[in-house]
């Protein structure tokens, strides 16, 4: 439990100057990392070393560093968000690694998420899917009292389970087809489980799925890899619900 020191680590990391660059792996060594440090703190230390040595530091996305904003997005030793369960990259700690180990770090790999630089990818495709229908069409003001429509406890809980998605994209990175179904289904379920969201449920599912297909995400073949790697434990039962909503939507067209 007490923190130990990892004397030496080899960090094999994807370097890519910009979207046009082909990219390649580079390996760096780093010394004296506390097992109590986070993975990103380890990268901070490596970057400060690179800067002092006159090299370009490694670009990676991060912000809240507490597992909620969904910005961090590293593919570590072959797994999105690395070798721990139910965590984001920023919550991953160095106690999960061994002294002398070589750690491989890559960006999310998916056609719909092009690399901007090094480990930073462009996830605008997710934005576009949500803009296509991931909302309830109400304006500010003129809404009923919050308690006017009771919501069964279980429905609110299920809705919240799905709403916990942080939009990180690990599901896409984990999927051999680069499918965004888990992400899309989480939003569809979050809203469809509430009476307020039911009204537009079919239209929402239809529009979001169409946008997803248009943006170059692959199809879902039910491998379940997404669920395993999702830091927020979003369940693939949401995908079944999405399929249902979607079929209903097609049916009523």
């Amino acid at each position: 439990m007490a923190d130990k020191i990892l004397k030496k680590l080899n960090i094999k990391v994807w370097r890519q100057k910009n979207a046009a660059d082909k990219g390649r792996f580079e390996t760096y060594t780093i010394e004296n990392i506390s097992t109590g440090s986070s993975f990103l703190e380890m990268l901070d230390i490596l970057n400060d070393k690179l800067i002092i040595d006159g090299q370009d530091p490694i670009a990676f996305d991060h912000d809240c560093r507490e597992g909620i904003c969904g910005t961090c997005s590293l593919y570590i030793n072959g797994r999105p968000h690395g070798p721990d369960t139910e965590v984001t990259t920023c919550q991953l700690h160095m106690r999960k690694f061994n002294d002398g180990e070589t750690i491989t770090i890559e960006p999310w790999r998916a056609k719909a998420f092009p690399v901007i630089k090094d480990l930073v990818v462009d996830r605008t495709a997710f934005e576009k899917i949500l803009r296509a229908g991931g909302f309830i069409s109400v304006n500010t003001g003129g809404v009923p009292d919050a308690n006017a429509i009771p919501v069964p406890y279980e429905d609110a809980e299920e809705s919240m389970d799905a709403a916990a998605c942080i939009g990180c994209g690990a599901c896409v990175a984990a999927c051999k087809n680069s499918s965004a179904m888990l992400f899309v289904s989480a939003k569809v379920s979050h809203l469809a489980k509430l009476p307020q969201g039911k009204v537009e449920a079919k239209k929402r599912a239809r529009r979001m799925v169409a946008k997803m297909d248009e943006l170059g995400f692959g199809g879902c073949t039910n491998t379940g890899a997404c669920e395993v790697e999702c830091p927020k434990s979003i369940s693939i039962t949401n995908i079944a619900r999405l399929n249902r909503e979607y079929l209903l939507a097609r049916f009523s067209e």
């Binding site: 923190d3 003001g141 809705s159």
Partner: protein
């Protein structure tokens, strides 16, 4: 006469807002279409404002430095949002929420603003439910509430430990709908670096495209800054890594006064600092104090053994535990306001009772609640927080108490705004944490979310119309004027200056140094000597920074170090103003504790006779002393009492 005009409406407190709304101008739908508004920042304030303004028919351009507006740090707020719904029948009311907020803020905020906040709070909950925010519910299907520090009623609505996330997604989704309709143009990965003033009015901004490095000009009829707080001046804080005070600071340099910079909130329940590799601190929601009991050992020997790791917390007998909050504040116990809880933890640790290796931690123990309610109930309430704690510390809080320590969390200070949320620059607005307006010297838990959304959904959309009604004949901003030219040049030359220093140390080196000075001298406990020393030290570190910082990478590419350098450069200036403000305010109030101003039993002592005012600072140019303007605070509806939570 102060040059500050707060524009507080006449009339009885409870009627001010409705009278004001009745009196202000409204822009016709046809004219709204001709008007452009820039909103910088997309947290609760920015996203709710952008969505609401676009729904009204204005053309909105929204900006955020993150890759998506959904990442704004409002997302990390855990515990809840207050509203005077009185759903619990526990005698809550708009007045009670107003009173708690004024008292909690230690009588350093404006009555009229705070009352309005309480007044619109019920609408926020209605709005969020309509948007599909999955608030916690009772088995009967109605909304559930929990209680929070500093109050005696249960008025906090929550979505597990992710309330900020869910509220932000609600506002973000409302904004997405407007983006889809073409009413909001979204600029992600863009950072505002200056505000452009033309003929005394805010007419646009200069922003850097963080992917290409391009410096761009954007024009509008009004600019709204919703960029959050400046807590990262301390380096270690609960803010996101990118959170910064630069937008508000550029506004300050262009004439928007900066108010109460020394009022920052130290949150009592954060995971303690360990070692020296740490980059940020993680908050454990205040809601945990509902069921957790805070304690340290009674005996110093026990504390020493704990620090050495010879014994664990569960080895300490019941009678040897000092539940110091319950002991000192019997009526509020573990639920005293944040500033009180923070100082009490520091006091125990300074006395040698700290429990981690660094001696800077106290326990937050759930054993008693688990015995009373069962593990399942606790898990349902706080499961995700417990999981987060375990992932970070490798300790199971169901079995062992959490270790916590205070950390910088929120800035009550910010751009000075009038009742309309306009700064001292015409057409330049500031909302949410970025302004100073509602929390006085201390913010109550679950009130930040309330204020961000109140400003964005229900206040600004009304008040901005009063200004814009006079701008309907003003043509779209021409970004080729000398004012834009000059602002862009200044931005570019500052970036080049930073880049060309090519010194020997990375930005973080200086940021950490600054943070240490801030924490030591402008932190939880302040005194004249220390504050003067802080000013001196900050100036020295700043000089060193501008001579020796090393910004790697390229100017025309994604360059996080360059972004950081610009923000840290501003943090030096913000830190200095904080110290000056703290020096001026020789009283203890809320989060600001001056060792020179205490009661006999060591509690904070306000000095209402000399300091019942807002300190509003005017920029006078680089290297010049800023000028202090005082806005006197007038209390007509509450009596100023020394806060007591005993």
């Amino acid at each position: 006469m102060s040059i500050l005009n707060s524009k507080i409406p006449e009339g009885p407190l409870a009627e001010k807002w409705s009278r004001h709304k009745a009196g202000i101008k409204v822009v016709s739908p046809a004219n709204k279409r001709k008007l452009d508004i820039i909103v910088v920042g997309t947290g609760l304030g920015g996203a709710s404002a952008a969505a609401s303004l676009a729904e009204l028919g204005y053309n909105v351009k929204a900006f955020c430095y993150q890759d998506s507006p959904r990442r704004a740090h409002s997302i990390a707020a855990q515990g809840g949002i207050n509203a005077a719904k009185n759903y619990q029948n526990d005698n809550d009311s708009v007045f009670r929420l107003f009173y708690d907020t004024i008292k909690g803020g230690d009588y350093r905020s404006r009555e009229a603003n705070v009352y309005r906040l309480a007044e619109v709070s019920p609408n926020i909950i209605d709005q969020c439910v309509a948007q599909g925010v999955p608030f916690g519910r009772e088995y009967g299907g109605l909304l559930a509430n929990r209680s929070f520090g500093g109050v005696l009623v249960s008025r906090t609505f929550y979505a597990r430990g992710q309330t900020g996330q869910q509220l932000l997604l609600g506002a973000y989704q409302a904004m997405n709908r407007q983006i889809d309709k073409g009413n909001v143009e979204m600029y992600s990965r863009h950072e505002m670096l200056d505000v452009v003033i033309v003929d005394g009015k805010a007419r646009g901004i200069i922003a850097r495209d963080l992917v290409t490095g391009e410096i761009k000009r954007f024009g509008a009829h009004a600019v709204v800054v919703a960029t959050g707080g400046y807590g990262n001046v301390f380096f270690l804080s609960t803010n996101a890594m990118g959170s910064n005070g630069s937008a508000a600071w550029q506004c300050y340099k262009k004439g928007a006064f900066f108010a109460n910079p020394c009022f920052v909130q130290i949150h009592p329940t954060c995971i303690p600092v360990h070692g020296d590799q740490q980059s940020k601190l993680t908050l454990m929601s205040e809601s945990l104090r509902n069921d957790g009991r805070v304690w340290v050992p009674k005996k110093k020997e026990d504390a020493e053994k704990l620090r050495k790791g010879e014994i664990g917390p569960n080895d300490i007998a019941e009678d040897d535990r000092d539940f110091y909050l319950e002991r000192r504040y019997p009526s509020y116990g573990n639920l005293v306001p944040r500033d009180v809880a923070s100082r009490a933890a520091k006091e125990r640790c300074d006395e040698g009772f700290g429990v981690n290796a660094e001696g800077k931690a106290v326990y937050l123990d759930f054993k008693y609640a688990i015995e009373r309610l069962g593990k399942d109930v606790i898990k349902a309430r706080y499961g995700n927080l417990f999981q987060m704690y375990e992932k970070i510390t490798d300790v199971d809080p169901y079995k062992e108490p959490m270790m916590i320590y205070p950390a910088i969390h929120y800035s009550m200070g910010g751009s000075w705004v009038d009742y309309n949320l306009m700064t001292t620059v015409s057409g330049l607005y500031s909302i949410g944490e970025a302004n100073f307006s509602d929390h006085g010297a201390n913010r109550l838990g679950a009130s930040a979310l309330m204020q961000g959304l109140a400003d964005g959904y229900f206040v600004l959309p009304y008040t901005i119309g009063d200004y814009l009604a006079n701008e309907i004949m003003t043509p779209k901003a021409d970004t080729n004027t000398p004012e834009f030219e000059e602002a862009e040049k200044a931005v570019t030359s500052r970036i080049e200056k930073l880049y060309n220093i090519k010194g020997s140390k990375p930005v973080d080196y200086f940021h950490k140094k600054l943070g240490q000075v801030m924490w030591d001298y402008v932190g939880m406990s302040r005194n004249e000597e220390g504050l003067k020393k802080a000013v001196q030290l900050i100036r020295e570190i700043r000089d060193e920074f501008w001579k020796d910082v090393k910004v790697p990478g390229e100017l025309d590419n994604l360059n996080p170090e360059l972004e950081k350098a610009g923000r840290v450069a501003d943090f030096f200036d913000i830190g200095e103003l904080m110290a000056l403000d703290a020096l001026n305010r020789n009283e203890s109030c809320g989060g600001h504790f001056r060792e020179e101003s205490v009661t006999e039993d060591g509690e904070a002592k306000r000095n209402d006779k000399s300091f019942t005012y807002v300190s509003s600072w005017e920029y006078k140019g680089e290297g010049q002393e800023p000028v202090l303007h005082k806005e006197d605070l007038v209390f007509e509806n509450v009596e100023l009492t020394q806060r007591s939570y005993k």
